[in-house]
């Protein structure tokens, strides 16, 4: 601390805590102690308070003890002469500030229910998104887990002008960071400046307008705390572990732009507890000695064009930015950006024209690395608002290249194209849909750039499995249709091969420790018929990943002697599990929910739970926010199950896995499935239908209940009986 900063932060903390106390008193008066309060759709209550103090604030009455805590944490103001030491007290004041923030903000949810929007996007006239719900947390949190987003910048205030704001935001985006926006300076707010500069904001572009007041900083802190609890498996009240988790793994920092008020200092003091330093554009005092943060605590007077690189250096972060030769910004942060109708310059596919993407293998002498050819008109040849057919043909060659890698590489086309600012990509294969924005075209983007992007990115991420890659782009309908016909045949062959792949047919499974830096106790082993529970990695992906990086997160596991064919247990897997869990677990079953199921981490796509009354199981995906028949919402289930536990009666799995033959096959498989959210059922309908036919119960999809039938076991039991669901006649699930 510096004396000036400590004094200001403590004063700011007093103000905010006093405000929280006042808000609490008024709320208590108006609604009474039993009035429920909470941020939308979260199992973590007021997350900072929950994580740090272990107190679940669910009612107004619960706030009292938190405010008492705040009071006792608040130190007296710093004195002019012979002051007492202030570092520890100021950090405490910072924590009290974040607790008070949460109370103020949650009361705002009660007082002005429409103040904050729900979901990922802003709407007309309303920009503040408020607390991220658990769906956003899990979806976005996975990016923190897999490294596509190393951290976030909490911006307070505003830049001198919209152009500077845009530059700062885009630089942060290029560095793959999330930008959380708060508070105002000079009557202006960073988020509004971005809109003014024509930048798309919202979760999809990683530019998140949290709130107009400094108290909204708690939404950033709450995101960080929940990341530690949901992905790190840390328990509420384990404050030190949660804070160190953030110091070590979430590369966040505060960027106050403009006058740093005492209330901002108070927020910054709170952030320092997490190891998040402050980098200011104004000449405030600096705190250079290290210790609570990894490096400096406060660095100031940094010119705007150096702000982001300075912040990253101070936070101790290394960001490797892809050098992709395109005239627009490029990076994962631009993946979620949309190209709206009004901005549209060119559109391909999406049902409007024919479009197809195909990755294939050629002989070494057939491929010239880096060659990009365009057959047909390019953007420069057409007018704004046009449509073109498009075939993207990517041809690989190399000694290590295998047919099995083709679909994996092909799936990347979606991401790689999307990363370019002003280019939108949806779908894959023959349902690909590409939009190019006017703004990007103005900067000189052409269709041929797709080829340059793919060449650069494939080499960067997958260079280990091929030697050469060339790209052919076709925009003439006839040729595109020819390619489509060839590709369709290849798709069918591939699908058949993947479908036919069984656990019995391979000797090697793959471990996945991709999320282990975030969920240290979870040990994932992926087999052909048990796709990774995050839904992102199947056996083939893991195999390819191992080829690409032999010391990476996917390691081969010799499955060894089969100890239990019914429940799916192998000696080699057990040995690996024992080692990887550092002795915490010595076995689990791949195919059971009842008997020693596989461990679950916070990033699973779905969680299945047994419903004893129905003699079956239900499953729920992370996008479904409602109640389920097991009495818990997804987010509560994930909170209870995540963090690497093996919990009989519950198991995490991917969506795709539901329709794989080995899904809980030890307990009866798909025949046990009695309930799932409607939308999930629709999403997997084609495959569900197929497997239902295969097991000889073609009507099974209609027998599975959803939330329209009921969300209690009693309700759905009646439905199952009426439909004659097969689970009812199976052996008892629990003995």
């Amino acid at each position: 601390m510096s004396k000036i900063i400590a004094s200001a932060a403590i004063r700011g903390a007093h103000k905010i805590v006093e405000r929280a106390e006042k808000e609490y008193e008024e709320a208590l008066e108006k609604w009474g102690p039993d009035q429920k309060v909470g941020f939308p759709n979260t199992a973590y209550y007021l997350p900072i308070i929950y994580g740090m103090l272990g107190i679940a604030v669910a009612k107004i009455g619960d706030m009292k003890q938190v405010l008492d805590h705040c009071r006792s944490l608040l130190p007296p103001p710093v004195r002019e002469k012979v002051h007492l030491p202030y570092l520890g007290p100021t950090l405490d004041a910072g924590m009290a500030t974040l607790f008070a923030d949460e109370i103020i903000e949650v009361i705002r949810y009660l007082k002005e229910p429409n103040f904050y929007l729900i979901g990922e996007d802003i709407s007309n006239g309303q920009i503040w998104l408020g607390a991220a719900d658990d769906i956003i947390l899990r979806k976005r949190g996975v990016e923190f887990v897999d490294g596509t987003a190393p951290g976030f910048a909490a911006v307070l205030g505003s830049a001198p002008d919209p152009e500077t704001a845009k530059n700062i935001a885009e630089e942060l985006q290029r560095k793959n960071l999330y930008v959380f926006m708060h508070a105002e300076h000079n009557g202006k707010r960073f988020a509004e400046q971005l809109i003014e500069a024509g930048v798309q904001i919202g979760w999809p572009t990683r530019l998140v307008p949290f709130g107009p007041d400094p108290t909204s900083v708690c939404f950033a802190g709450g995101f960080a705390v929940r990341a530690a609890m949901s992905f790190g498996g840390l328990q509420p009240g384990e404050f030190r572990k949660i804070l160190i988790y953030n110091k070590d793994r979430i590369f966040a920092f505060a960027l106050p732009l403009g006058l740093v008020t005492d209330e901002w200092y108070a927020q910054a003091a709170g952030a320092i507890n997490f190891g998040f330093p402050t980098i200011a554009d104004s000449p405030i005092p600096e705190i250079l000695p290290t210790g609570v943060c990894t490096y400096e605590h406060v660095v100031s007077n940094i010119p705007h064009d150096q702000l982001v690189s300075k912040a990253i250096e101070v936070r101790g972060l290394k960001v490797t930015v892809s050098e992709v030769p395109v005239p627009v910004s490029y990076g994962p942060a631009f993946e979620g950006e949309r190209v709206r109708k009004d901005d549209l310059y060119l559109e391909c596919g999406g049902g409007k024209t024919v479009a197809v993407e195909w990755a294939t293998t050629k002989n070494m002498d057939e491929v010239e690395d880096g060659k990009v050819e365009l057959f047909g008109p390019d953007i420069s040849d057409i007018e704004s608002g046009s449509r073109l057919p498009l075939a993207i043909l990517v041809e690989f060659a190399g000694r290590k290249m295998q047919d099995d890698f083709e679909p994996i590489l092909e799936r990347q086309i979606h991401h790689f194209i999307n990363y370019a600012q002003g280019m939108m990509h949806i779908g894959q294969r023959d349902i690909a849909w590409i939009r190019v924005a006017k703004q990007a075209v103005e900067k000189g983007l052409t269709l041929k750039h797709i080829g340059s992007i793919l060449h650069a990115k494939f080499h960067e991420d997958f260079g280990a499995i091929f030697d050469k890659v060339q790209v052919k782009l076709h925009t003439e309908e006839k040729k595109v249709k020819e390619i489509l016909a060839q590709a369709t045949q290849v798709y069918a062959t591939r699908d058949a091969r993947i479908e036919g792949m069984t656990d019995e047919a391979v000797d090697i499974y793959y471990s996945c420790t991709l999320c282990q830096s975030f969920a240290p106790n979870h040990v994932c082993i992926v087999s052909p018929e048990r796709t990774g529970l995050c839904g992102a990695y199947n056996w083939m992906d893991c195999k390819a990943s191992y080829e690409i990086n032999p010391t990476g997160p996917n390691q081969p596991v010799e499955k060894g002697e089969c100890l239990d064919p019914k429940f799916g247990q192998w000696k080699g897997c057990n040995e690996f599990l024992y080692k990887a869990s550092r002795g915490a677990l010595d076995h689990y079953n791949f195919y059971s929910i009842v008997h020693d199921p596989m461990t679950t981490c916070g990033c699973c796509e779905c969680i299945a739970a047994i419903l004893p009354l129905c003699n079956g199981v239900m499953t729920v995906d992370r996008d479904y926010t409602g109640m389920t028949p097991c009495g818990m919402k997804f987010t509560t289930l994930a909170g209870t199950m995540g963090g690497g536990n093996s919990s009989p009666g519950f198991v995490g799995h991917g969506k795709y896995n539901i329709t794989q033959k080995k899904w809980i096959s030890g307990d009866g498989g798909i025949k046990r499935l009695v309930w799932m959210p409607k939308r999930l059922k629709e999403e997997i309908a084609p495959r569900l239908k197929k497997i239902a036919e295969e097991i000889g119960i073609p009507n099974l999809p209609n027998m599975i209940a959803d939330e329209t039938v009921g969300i209690s076991e009693e309700e759905i039991l009646a439905f199952l009986e009426e439909k004659g669901h097969p689970a009812l006649s199976l052996d008892p699930l629990l003995e």
């Binding site: 601390m1 004396k3 002051h83 030491p85 570092l87 520890g88 290290t290 290394k318 991709l514």
Partner: protein, 655 residues
């Protein structure tokens, strides 16, 4: 007669020396001029352990031509200079250890009685510290009543004194590597009293006559002090009276108030002074003071009693060891209450020249001619009241001219190792990491422990301040206790404002960050145990080696005089710390002992002694040692900033 300016660097002391001279009062400063120290005794070459002696075998003034012959100087029994110096040194350790530990025992006895609720006025003030010590002693906490936990803790603590075998409980607090060194050398204390008794036995005529072997036992007894008696005293006092937290107060004779009834509590134990301090604020007492014409009651401390009530309650300090006679010389002290240790017998003579009542309170420490009011812990409040009343009643008897020097300095104190730990990270991130980090990155060069007494053989406070300022200038943060803390306090070094004034840029920036003074007052002389704990915390936090001897740190006692200082020095050396003493050193008559203490110990114990009178050179020795340790740790060069990418994060240890 030398100038008063040569006697002290403290303005208040100077004023009072002038007053004393004018009034014909003889003080320790005068006697130091009249009587020179015995040259043979001061080098440790006099043996009076049997009636065949005393044997005096002084080292030759010039280097002998035949070193073999020089070696042969010996007492009647054949005791060599080595044996004699080692025996004397070991006995000093025994005495020092006994003093600290007997203090600790007294606290433990009161603690047990207080826990049982048998003595009104004492209670458990620091519940958390009780749990802390309970964990060390293996006392179950669970859902048990505080009272039961406290009784168990007290009894376990008390048992440490008479323990016959095994290891003292607090030994386990030390770094693992340090414990191993002790075990390998077989110097882990078995019991506190036992090690003192064994020294007395082994130094008896005709027993242990191998100076190395004697010094092993000396180390064991010293460890029984630092990690035993002293630590027990500190910890139990914290539970009874509160673990120190940061606070402000004032220091120097100017804290006395002419219009108030002034009591000075002097000595070492807080048991009675705590009560006197409390009782002095009783409205009934204040009213009584006012009834005799005083405005109020001022209680100020002297020596380590002062440190005790300063650290826990912020009572002002009148001065350090060499100011005790001078306090009375102000003519404003209505009663000086003394307990044990460092109380000059001459106080009784000075008091006679004024109206001051010198009140002895300990059955262990009476002074012929003083008033004795025996402190009965079962009736502590009434004892305290009686004493305060005596002072009040004495107020109207003030006769001579009162002169209180207008010298008082603001200080910040209260730096227990727990408080330092808290200050560096707050409730949620408390740790020594920021300290270690800034030592590693070089903003702080190292840690200096500067402690110890005053000694009338050297200019009062001068060496203390010179060493400390030199260390600060070189970015060495200073931890202090005892009379050094007071010297620093009087000179304004215990304020946060001192950082920018005296420190190198690096240390100043860290002080500004934490808001601390560059010199941290950690308490009384038994509280040197707090320095051991702070140093241990530094080791355990990581990045600065695995043992206390790896840390870039050094200790010194520039103006030492008591046997307690020798015991403290030896336990720091035996804990792996390089320790420099000033003024004089009681083994200089023995080449073997010099080699053992100044060199060999570094091989065996990891720490060693040094003797250096010149405070600037003393600081230099410490800094050189710190630099040596920095080099060994590989932190003598600037380090590159490590930037983390995803791969490195994935390799992080699991949370």
């Amino acid at each position: 007669m030398s100038e008063i300016g040569d006697k002290t660097v403290d303005a208040a002391t100077r004023t009072m020396l002038e007053k004393a001279a004018g009034e014909g009062i003889e003080t320790v400063f005068d006697r130091a001029e009249k009587m020179k120290p015995c040259p043979i005794g001061s080098e440790g070459s006099c043996c009076r352990n049997c009636a065949m002696g005393p044997c005096r075998i002084p080292a030759p003034k010039k280097k002998p031509k035949d070193p073999e012959k020089a070696k042969k100087r010996m007492g009647l029994c054949g005791a060599t200079a080595e044996t004699i110096a080692a025996r004397n040194f070991a006995r000093m350790i025994a005495s020092g250890c006994a003093a600290h530990s007997d203090h600790g025992r007294g606290v433990a006895e009161v603690f047990v009685a207080a826990a049982k609720g048998e003595i009104p006025g004492y209670s458990i003030q620091d519940e958390q510290k009780l749990y802390q010590v309970a964990m060390d002693f293996g006392v179950e906490i669970g859902e048990r009543d505080i009272k039961d936990i406290a009784i168990d803790v007290g009894e376990k603590a008390l048992a440490e004194f008479g323990r016959q075998e095994g290891e003292l409980a607090f030994i386990k607090r030390a770094p693992l590597k340090r414990q191993e060194i002790w075990r390998k050398l077989n110097i882990v204390p078995r019991g506190i009293d036992r090690e003192v008794v064994e020294i007395m036995h082994r130094t008896h005529m005709g027993v242990d006559q191998d100076y190395r072997n004697l010094m092993l036992q000396g180390s064991r007894a010293a460890l029984a002090d630092g990690w035993g008696g002293s630590m027990v005293a500190t910890e139990l006092q914290d539970i009874l009276f509160g673990t120190p937290v940061p606070l402000v107060s004032k220091i120097n004779l100017g804290v006395l108030k002419e219009e108030d009834v002034n009591l000075i509590v002097h000595g070492h134990e807080p048991l009675l002074s705590e009560m006197i301090a409390a009782v002095s604020q009783d409205p009934e007492m204040i009213q009584m003071a006012q009834s005799v014409g005083a405005k109020g009651i001022t209680v100020a401390g002297m020596c380590c009693t002062a440190n005790e009530i300063l650290m826990r309650h912020g009572f002002p300090i009148a001065g350090n060891f060499l100011q005790q006679e001078l306090a009375i010389t102000t003519g404003a002290v209505d009663a000086m209450i003394v307990d044990v240790q460092c109380i000059m017998e001459n106080l009784v003579n000075v008091a006679k020249c004024y109206h001051t009542k010198l009140i002895t309170t300990s059955p262990k420490a009476k002074i012929d001619g003083a008033t004795h009011v025996e402190f009965d812990e079962h009736d502590a409040i009434n004892t305290a009241k009686r004493i305060v009343r005596t002072a009040i009643e004495n107020f109207p008897n003030r006769t001579s001219k009162v002169l209180i020097p207008d010298e008082r300095t603001d200080i910040v104190a209260g730096f227990s190792h727990e408080t330092i730990n808290y200050l560096l990270g707050g409730i949620f991130r408390a740790s020594y990491r920021p300290l270690n980090d800034n030592i590693i990155n070089g903003r702080i060069r190292g840690i200096g422990g500067v402690v110890g007494c005053n000694n009338a053989r050297t200019t009062h406070d001068s060496s203390h301040l010179t060493v400390v300022k030199e260390l600060l200038k070189n970015d060495v943060i200073v931890l202090t206790t005892g009379c050094n803390a007071m010297a620093c306090g009087k000179a304004g070094l215990l304020t946060p404002e001192a950082a920018s004034k005296y420190c190198g840029e690096g240390l100043a920036s860290v002080c500004e960050t934490v808001g601390i003074p560059p010199v941290l007052h950690m308490g009384s002389c038994v509280d040197n145990s707090r320095i051991l704990m702070a140093a241990t915390a530094v080791v355990k936090d990581g990045g600065l080696g695995d043992d206390l001897s790896d840390v870039p740190a050094a200790g010194c006692a520039p103006e030492w005089m008591s046997e307690k200082a020798i015991s403290i020095g030896q336990y720091f050396v035996a804990s792996g710390v390089f320790t420099v003493f000033g003024v004089t050193f009681p083994i200089m008559g023995s080449e073997g002992m010099k080699d053992l203490l100044f060199n060999e110990f570094e091989e065996t114990l990891g720490g060693k002694w040094a003797f250096e009178k010149d405070p600037e050179k003393m600081a230099k020795l410490m800094i050189e040692h710190i630099d040596k340790k920095r080099k060994a740790l590989g932190i003598d060069k600037a380090r590159e900033r490590v930037l983390y990418d995803m791969e490195m994060r994935q390799k992080l240890d699991a949370a």
